[in-house]
């Protein structure tokens, strides 16, 4: 197994130890159970922004804990949702008195575990809201599937909501912002290679030297279609067009209703992109694709957005939400207002994302 690891059973612990050793000024790692909070402790009077999910997507989420982004992150086992008690303890450690917003990627496990965590925290008197991110257009409908996966939009939402939380936005407004940003975002991913989870030691799928997978998620799972490997222009065009021409998307969301004191389901519809939209464009490496190739993707992606009358006002290019050492990339486009752009430009200082301070 081509990995820089020791015993597969200790991978997460040791990598977190390394992370703690590297960034004692930024983060504090709790072991047993695992959660990562800001080195400076909770932000008094501000909503605590928390996320979490299976490990293997680094720098997400632990690398995004710090000023202007997350207050805490819960790493699960590799590709496995963390558990409610972990999330609950992270919420208690990060809570600054103004409630907690959990950013939850839409996977059956993550959603269920974060719901249970929210219930535990609320039983402790902490106000908690869960907003689910589901931006992956590779999953077509929500009626016959577990719904769209939460992928690249998560990173952008953590940055933007993190800036808003830093500025003191209250839980309700922050939840609205988070929901809006998710509704404004769509993503699509592809893989040239599979990846190897340390405990299994072999690739999660076999793929020929001349093949690729389109419509993958971030867990080494096969995508929606296997094809002959194409040029970057063809790949970037297919992905961008899938995102831009994706129609209205409707699914049922579940959020906590603080007046009724219960989970309430609502039907929510995302509108398609339209000419004149301003977007943040995010070209992401799945871990094994170098940034040089991402620039090749960006080039064609921008050609396509230009042609559609979509204006890229900000971008992010690099390995931010990965699937271990998988080769491949994803594209995320998120429609933004001027106010959102200001949040994007606001200072951020985390192990994985830094600017403005």
């Amino acid at each position: 197994m081509k990995k820089l690891i020791n015993n597969p059973d200790n991978v997460i612990k040791e990598q977190l130890e390394g992370m703690q050793a590297a960034h004692p000024d930024l983060i504090k790692v709790n072991f047993e159970p695992y959660y990562i909070t800001r080195a400076g402790g909770p932000s008094k009077g501000k909503v605590a922004l928390i996320s979490g999910g299976g490990s293997g997507h680094e720098p997400m989420h632990g690398g995004f804990v710090g000023h202007g982004m997350l207050h805490a992150a819960c790493p699960g086992e590799i590709f496995t949702s963390p558990t409610p008690d972990q999330m609950h303890l992270a919420a208690k450690a990060a809570h600054g008195g103004a409630g907690v917003l959990n950013i939850v990627k839409n996977y059956t496990g993550d959603v269920m575990n974060f719901e249970m965590a929210a219930e535990l925290a609320m039983a402790d008197g902490i106000k908690v809201q869960n907003i689910v991110v589901d931006d992956d257009v590779a999953v077509k409908d929500s009626l016959y599937t577990a719904g769209r996966r939460g992928v690249g939009a998560t990173v952008l939402i953590e940055k933007l909501c993190g800036a808003a939380a830093e500025q003191g936005m209250d839980l309700e407004k922050l939840s609205d912002l988070c929901r809006t940003l998710n509704q404004n975002a769509r993503s699509m991913g592809m893989a040239l290679t599979s990846c190897i989870t340390p405990s299994n030691g072999s690739a999660s799928f076999e793929i020929g030297d001349d093949e690729m997978e389109i419509g993958i998620g971030i867990h080494g799972e096969p995508g929606i279609e296997r094809k002959k490997i194409a040029t970057v222009d063809e790949i970037a065009e297919e992905m961008t067009v899938s995102i831009l021409e994706d129609g209205a998307y409707t699914r049922t969301t579940k959020e906590w209703d603080f007046s009724k004191n219960e989970w309430v389901e609502k039907e929510v519809t995302d509108e398609p992109f339209k000419k004149g939209d301003n977007v943040i464009a995010f070209v992401n490496s799945m871990g094994g694709t170098p940034v040089s190739e991402l620039y090749g993707v960006y080039r064609k992606m921008k050609e396509v957005t230009d042609k559609h009358g979509i204006k890229i006002v900000r971008n992010l290019i690099g390995p931010y939400i990965t699937a271990l050492e998988m080769q491949g990339c994803s594209i995320t486009l998120m429609k933004v207002s001027d106010a959102h752009v200001k949040l994007w430009d606001a200072p951020v200082y985390t192990p994985g994302l830094k600017w403005g301070m």
Partner: protein, 208 residues
């Protein structure tokens, strides 16, 4: 009658069989999921096993609830809350019991399965553990109603569970990760259905 000792036995046997099949379950999950189901089940039930000695003074309901808490806090993923809910609901219904007769067994199983259905919103045919759990719950209810012994009921439950597992193979998944694959999820056996079958088999073997 299922004794408390047999319940503890069941948990130990479940843990053993899930450990033996760790690779196998993970391999099933590799094809249509994210390659962790065997590892998840092993991690959870290994912890359950390590705590069996702590249950000496507890009734069956309390034991099952303790199992639930352990699974919820160690398994993660989808199967953690689902199996956690199964044992939590089953344990709640069995509160105070030192042994289980046929009716209790049926009630326990139905409560657990309904819990999983509520939590995960899956229906039979969605290619999940529900394709094993629901027919097994029904078979147990029927067999007990028809006066079958606990032992016979469980032997029959194993057959139903095995059929449930096989039935998942041609299905297109509608819940869980496998649903992302659409048509490509066909011709693969569901890992969660498989682990459910193993746990049911462990119960039958513990009772005899």
């Amino acid at each position: 009658m299922i004794t408390k000792q047999q319940v503890l036995d069941w948990l130990r046997k479940s843990s053993d069989v899930l450990e033996e099949n760790r690779q196998y379950l993970t391999k099933l999950d590799t094809a249509i999921g994210d390659a962790d189901h065997g590892n998840n089940m092993y991690r959870g039930f290994n912890k359950v096993k390590s705590q069996l000695d702590d249950h000496a003074d507890k009734d069956i309901g309390a034991i099952l609830k303790a199992v639930a808490m352990t699974l919820i806090s160690t398994v993660g993923g989808a199967s953690g809350p689902l199996y956690g809910t199964f044992f939590l609901q089953a344990g709640t219904k069995m509160a105070g019991k030192a042994e289980l007769d046929g009716d209790s067994l049926a009630v326990m199983f139905r409560a657990g399965v309904d819990g999983v259905k509520m939590r995960g919103k899956a229906q039979p045919g969605d290619k999940t553990m529900i394709d094993v759990l629901e027919p097994v719950a029904q078979a147990i209810e029927n067999d007990i109603k028809e006066g079958k012994s606990v032992s016979d009921t469980l032997h029959h439950a194993v057959e139903v569970a095995e059929k449930g597992v096989a039935d998942t193979i041609p299905l297109i998944a509608k819940k869980g990760r496998a649903s992302y694959l659409g048509e490509r999820s066909k011709d693969h056996q569901d890992p969660g259905a498989t682990s459910s079958m193993m746990i049911i088999k462990a119960l039958s073997e513990s009772v005899g």
